[in-house]
């Protein structure tokens, strides 16, 4: 019984572990319509679109995670994840955008880290 009490304690602590697994934590609204995702070809980026260098992109699950998270953003038209270059290209809907802080927050919330953000001139 003592062992079960100990295990119960571990499980309880599991629910209460602070959110410190990633280097940065942000809380953002993930509402909005799903954007068009899953395109294999690189996007045709326009002025104001973003190219984000991301650390930790090692597999398709990582890429899919980012697609899912960005897909919930109303401002996002589409994204392309390149596992070779570790760069995600974000295309915004006309008249809409996400600032660098919002982009960083979304990627951090998905479990990855932003190395740099470049905007298309």
């Amino acid at each position: 019984m003592k062992k079960l009490i100990l295990l119960t304690t571990v499980l309880t602590l599991s629910f209460s572990l602070p959110v410190y697994a990633m280097n940065d934590g942000h809380d953002h609204d993930h509402g909005g319509e799903a954007a068009e995702m899953g395109e294999k070809a690189a996007l045709d980026l326009k002025s104001g679109d973003a190219k984000v260098a991301v650390n930790g992109l090692v597999c398709d699950f990582c890429a899919r995670a980012l697609e899912k998270v960005f897909g919930k953003q109303e401002a996002v038209n589409a994204i392309d994840v390149n596992l070779d270059t570790k760069i995600i290209s974000v295309s915004f809907n006309d008249g809409q955008t996400l600032d660098d802080e919002a982009l960083t927050g979304l990627i951090t919330d998905a479990g990855y880290n932003v190395e740099s953000i470049d905007r298309v001139e």
């Binding site: 062992k3 572990l17 294999k40 596992l83």
Partner: protein, 213 residues
């Protein structure tokens, strides 16, 4: 046996996940079906955040002659994101009910729980993981098990391609007769599907399937 539990928790802090990742992206559902020489398991979990998942776990331990139904919580304790690699440390714990009516047991039911640490490192060509777990099932059984895996991808597939991994898994159950088993296996991974198949040195099959969306 409590000391074993503390030992495994401590050991996991220093030793470099054998299975697919136990935590998904925010809002992600994962269905995991694992079958090997010891057990058949099913684990369905939901990740409200990128560092936690909660779900249901069913296990049928064939030789140990009991089944387990549990609520399982997985925590991503720490993730190291590098430009070309990623490493993770997880805590995986569950509480539930164990049941056995086989051989020595006459419809024995007991509260049960388990906990353990899992860690992994991977880039697009290499994979290393380690996982341990202590299981307590009252009068039915209690045991410790640990597993390690190394993997190599013969090619780097692009996003959306079929990814192939050749892997070698070593399982260690100190109390068991065949306390070490070695399982060469192949992993195929495409879109939301992950499939693994192999056979250990005792001729027992491994077949795992994971669906994540």
């Amino acid at each position: 046996m409590r000391y074993v539990l503390f030992a495994l928790l401590g050991m996991g802090l220093f030793i470099p996940n054998v299975q697919a990742r136990p935590v998904s992206y925010p809002g992600g559902w994962t269905f995991m079906f694992m079958n090997d020489g010891d057990a058949n398991t099913a684990h369905i979990h939901y990740s409200p955040t990128a560092d936690m998942s909660v779900g249901y776990k069913f296990e049928n331990w064939r030789d140990k002659e009991f089944t387990l139904n549990a609520v399982q919580v997985n925590n991503l304790i720490k993730r190291w994101n590098k430009k070309h690699s990623q490493a993770n440390l997880y805590l995986k714990s569950g509480l539930g009910i164990a049941h056995s009516d086989r051989d020595d047991f006459d419809s024995e039911t007991s509260a049960a729980g388990f906990t353990g640490l899992a860690t992994d490192w991977e880039n697009r060509r290499f994979f290393v993981s380690y996982e341990n777990r202590y299981t307590e099932a009252g009068e039915i059984d209690d045991f410790f098990k640990q597993s390690a895996r190394v993997g190599w991808a013969p090619y780097e597939g692009d996003y959306g391609d079929t990814h192939t991994w050749l892997m070698l898994q070593v399982d260690h159950t100190p109390e068991g007769g065949d306390n070490f088993t070695v399982t060469p296996l192949v992993r195929f991974f495409k879109d939301v599907h992950l499939l693994e198949a192999g056979m250990n040195n005792n001729g027992e099959l491994l077949f795992n399937y994971v669906l994540r969306y």
